[in-house]
Structure formats: C-alpha cells, structure tokens
Symmetry: none
Subunit: 270 residues, 3 copies
Amino acid sequence: MTTSGSPPTGRGRQAFAEIMTFPAAADATPAAEHLLDFVFADVWQRPELTRRDRRFITLPCVADADADEPLRDHVYAALNSGDVSITEMRETVLHFAVYGGWPKASRFNMVVDQEWERIHQQRGTPMPAPEPLLPLTTPSDPEERLTVGERSFRDINCLPFAPARDDPFQGAGILNFVFGEMWMRPGLGMRERRLITVACVAFQDAPYPILSHVYAALKSRDVSFGEMDELILHFAAHYGWPKASHLDRVAAEQKQRVSAEWAAEATAAS
Amino acid sequence: MTTSGSPPTGRGRQAFAEIMTFPAAADATPAAEHLLDFVFADVWQRPELTRRDRRFITLPCVADADADEPLRDHVYAALNSGDVSITEMRETVLHFAVYGGWPKASRFNMVVDQEWERIHQQRGTPMPAPEPLLPLTTPSDPEERLTVGERSFRDINCLPFAPARDDPFQGAGILNFVFGEMWMRPGLGMRERRLITVACVAFQDAPYPILSHVYAALKSRDVSFGEMDELILHFAAHYGWPKASHLDRVAAEQKQRVSAEWAAEATAAS
Amino acid sequence: MTTSGSPPTGRGRQAFAEIMTFPAAADATPAAEHLLDFVFADVWQRPELTRRDRRFITLPCVADADADEPLRDHVYAALNSGDVSITEMRETVLHFAVYGGWPKASRFNMVVDQEWERIHQQRGTPMPAPEPLLPLTTPSDPEERLTVGERSFRDINCLPFAPARDDPFQGAGILNFVFGEMWMRPGLGMRERRLITVACVAFQDAPYPILSHVYAALKSRDVSFGEMDELILHFAAHYGWPKASHLDRVAAEQKQRVSAEWAAEATAAS
C-alpha cells in the first residue's frame, strides 16, 4: 500500500476503465484517486473471487446505497461487460427486492431498464423481447406452494425445520412467496443468489438473518471459507468497514460451527 | 390469499391502480410484474389492516428508502385517495424526522409540498392556507416541558419510569422535544404514530427501541397482536425480509411479555 | 499499495492499536488484515485531518451501521484516547439523533454510558456527575425560539432565508428545535458539528440536505476544500464507496459554487 500522500499511480484509473467499461472521471481529487487505487486496482483484482462474482456483491450494495451514479454505473458495467446477462440482472432485482426492500428495488429496476436500453442504443442493436413470466415453474395451488416453500426453506437454509405457516410473515411471506416462489425461479444460479443475499443481510444487519444466511452459504458449499472472506473485503469497500467488521465476526463464528458439523458428519459417515 | 402463480389476470396492475390512484407502468418486466402481484394484489388486500393503516407503514418505508419515485407515488396516493389528510401527512413527516432522521424527512417534506400542489393543480382547486404553528399546545417553560415529557414518556412507552434529564440526548432531546412536544402534537392519532414508529424502529433496528416500541404498541392496545403480525408482513414487502424477520422475532417475545403482564393484572384485579 | 495477496505488513495492527487504544483481534483473516492496513495504517494516518477530526466522522458512521462492536470500540477509543471529551461525546449523540434518527442514537447513547463507566472502572476513578440540563441557553418563549431558530438557520446554512414556520416539519421541527435549540447548545464546536452533519447527510443521502450541508461547511470556512476531500475518503472507508462517490460529486459542485461566490464577493468588496 502506498504511504499516504504519495502520488496516484494510475493503476486505479486503468482498473476502473476495465471493470466499469468506461473511464473514471478526469477530475478526481487525490483522496478519490487514492480510493480508486484501493477499490478497483486492489480489491477488485484479488483472485479469490471472479469479477463476475464481485458484480453480484456490488450490485446490492449500490442499489441499497441509492447514490444514483454508482448504481447506474455498475448496472451498465455488469451488462455491458457481458459478465451478467439481462435475465440474471432482472432476477437480481427481484432477489434484491425481497432482501433489500421493494422501493429501492423499484428504483434499481428502472435503472436496469434505462441502462439496458442505453447499451442497445450505443450498439445500434434492437432491444430483445423480455422473457415471458408464465408459466411459472412453481405450483399455483396454495397448499402445494407452501409445501414447496417448506422444502426449499429447509434445503436453502440447511436447516432441519421450516417456520410455522400460521403467521402472515412466515406463512404468506416467507413460505408462500420467498421460498415457495422467488428462490425457485430459474435464471439466476444458487451461488449468485447466495452472494446477493449475504450482501443484503450484511447491510440490513438484523442478527438472525446474517447468521443464518452466512451459515447456509458456507454449509451448502456454495461459497467457500476463502470466498466468504473475500466477499467481506469486497463488501467493506462498497458498504463500509463497520458493517463488514460485524459480518467478519459472524462469519468467523459460522466457519467454526460449519467445520464442527462437517467433522461430526465425517465421523458419523465413517 | 390468491395465487401469484395464476394466469396473467393483471390482478397486480388492477390492485396497483386502486391503491396508487394511477396505473402501473405499462412496461413492467416479468420479475417486476411478479412482485406487483405479491405486493399489491396479495399483501395490500389482506383484511387485518385497512388500506389507510397500510399508508402509515408504507410512507416511512419509502421515505427511508429514498428511492424518489416510490416516495413520490405513495405520498400522492395517500393524499389523492383521501386516506390521509394533509395535516396527518405533515405530522407524519415530523414524526418520521425524529425516528428516521431529518435529512430524509427534509426530502419527504419537499415531496409532500410538490405532490399536494400537483393534486390541487390536477383538480383545479386552490391550495388551502397552512395551519398556523403557534400557539403550541405544550408548555413553554423548560421545567414544565420536561415534566410533560417525563409523563408522556411514561404513558406512551407504558413504562413506570422516565430517563434522567441531565444527559443531552435524554434531556434536551427525548424529554424536552420528542415526548415533551412532538408526540403531544394534535393532528395525528396515537394509533397512526404507533404504526409509523414501529416501521421506523424496524428499519433503524437498534435493539432497545424496537423492543420498547413494539411492546408499547401492543401493551397500549393501540395495535392488536394480529395487526402487529400484519404490520410485519407489510413491512417485509416494503423494506425487505431480513429486518422484518428480526421484527417478527421481537414481536413474538413482546407478545408473550404483554400476555403475561395482562394475565398478572387480571389476577391482581380479581 | 501492495499488490493483492501480499502478506500483511503489520502496519495495520500497529496503527489500529494506536487509534483504538487496544490491540486488533489476533485471528483476522488475510482479507481483514488487508482492510486493517488500508483503513488504519493508510486512511487514518493521512495528514489533512487530525485523528480527533476523524473521530467525529467515524462515530456517526458506526452509529448508523449499528454493528455493535465497531460502535462500542470507537466510542471507547474516542473517550479513552482523550481526543473527545464526555461532554462533546454526549452532544455528538444528540446531534446524531437529529441527523441519523433517534432509535440508532438511543443505542449510541447507551453505548456511551457503558463505555464511559468501563473506562472509569479500568482507571479506578469515580464517575463524574453529569452536567445539569437546565437552564437551557436558548429562549423558552415559542416566538423567541422561532426567531432564534430562523437566525441560526440562516447563519449555519449560509442562506439569506429561513423556511416557513407554518409547517410542522419546518416550524415545530427545524426552526423550533433543530436550529432554535440543538445547534445552539454549548459543549460541541461548530467545526465538529459540521463533520458529524456531513457524515450523516452523506449516509442518509437525501439530495438537498447533502448539497446544503456540504455547501455550508465549505462556505462558512469551518471545513476547507482539502479537508472536505479527506472527509470523503474517511467516510468511504467507514461507510462505503457508493455513498462516498455521490458525496464526492456533490462536493465538487459545491466547491465550484463557493469559489464563484467568494470571487464575486471579493470583486464587490474591492
């Protein structure tokens, strides 16, 4: 790391241009240059997560921050780079809506529409037709959907139980919609949903959801221990050190818990 | 609850138009359409809370999210529908300022001014004169204000004690202004203040304020147990599931606490 | 800046121990070590802002993040280092309450009480008595309070006008309390209030308050242009790059505006 006050190397601007697919603002202050170096030349370049992986951590951070330019810039960059398909981006918006809230997702979705159109205008290509919503891949019968929701709640959270149906939040919300439909939608992989979810629970930082989603991401092996550490550093750069520090503590605890469970399972299996 | 998986009935758009008093954007993506069905055709239609009640939960959520369009749209809809009077809306902004922060409230207040004017322009009716601020209904003498603040703190929080005066946050802030003046203002009912406050403490999610305001809303009987459950589902749909999940756990604990206290009081009374 | 993956230098841990007044956790991951180097050995060491200045930017960031440990650690460090007096800390909580919301401030205040007591226990010194709230230094008569509020609103915001009284948010809130009382309280300097306020409007990121408080901090000369750049870098490290990036854009605009106004004033004066 440069000692403070040293002149910017330009590494940050070069990395920014590669990641964002457009050049950084010319008039950055020394402090901003310094940050460009750290975020783009340093954090984004680390090998433990791919650039594509980092898109799925960055997008919820900028959508929650709702500073307009970073959201717009990262949506554009993710689509324009080809790292994230439009189908994956739209599923990311829906997944974010559940974990980050509908109003911010509504804005995120508008930005996706605008940037997707801008990309086609720049390329002089026609806008492709959206994929049809129907048929849904999940059952319509409420009883069946709750059953699917209970099963996917257990599978995705790596838990032996599902919550009670007879509570509007748990039943009508979590089982019927979040796990009965939303998580089941095709078009976005489970690993990507894990990355988005961990970023969202980290900024929402309600105690149990952080714990449970970090645990499930690790226990499912969708996210390795080293990838989780890297996710935390990336999150820190995009959402700040304090919440990242909390996430880091939770992750340390959950790694111990998961390691102990794996050891016990290995013993039981042998 | 009807199935979000049913064929494209446009239920979401129909419900949106009724609640928002204007049609949904024509070009919603499948993912957004899907969410439209869940939020407007499912959640908002549930009988346990009125549409008016839901306005007082939604407004703080969109004011905190500060995604411009949803805030603008929900302020317009609440006023244009007649569900919320301009006096109630302006008190909602002040109440939100205290629990959600003044910068976001400043934006909320500007949006209220703009949408209120837009409604009068659309209707071709003159803007009514604002209600005069003075005289305040609370005492001016600092000693008396603190005494009122201590009493209203105890009454509103359903607690036998008030905090120490000689602490700037507790004395100059909580007793002198928040409970000595703000909560005492006419123009917004206690039930409505409860709904706004619970939504705000849920997104701010500092541990003690969530606990104390959920407890007080239930203990005061301003919000029933079933209404609290419904508030949580509504909050989840508008602010995201992680914080709602935490609120749900806190509410479950506080329902037990309140039930036990009521049972003890009934015994003592008999 | 070290190339990614290079071994931690230990500079971060040394800097952490100096700033925080206690050692960093021994079991940090490589990603966390990397962040320690950037935040504590790099950002906190930069000369443009003092360590004391940085406390007043960090405290609102960790109080808003409401990750328990960082809040607790930074409150302890600010008091234990002697950089921030208990009187200044308590005024910081009240100021934060207004700009960041009372629920988070309530937690902040509890942490201040606990850490202040812990410091006295560690030192074996008795807890000093709190300073009495009364008498307030601001007038009690509502009319006079509004007059004081209008004047201080104009002075502090460097604006020629004050908002209308007959609006609950502007009148009962902004004029009567925020500028009629809170900003007028002794015990915290104007420069410190500027640092806290800019950090709060940056994370709340409602458009007009960011603009107006960044403008006023610069125009008043309480915060220099270079200090504002440094504030933004410090904020980025503690609250994340996206909101810092937005703040950086706003600051660039406001520097131009202020420079143009100073030039015009110089011309008019000559």
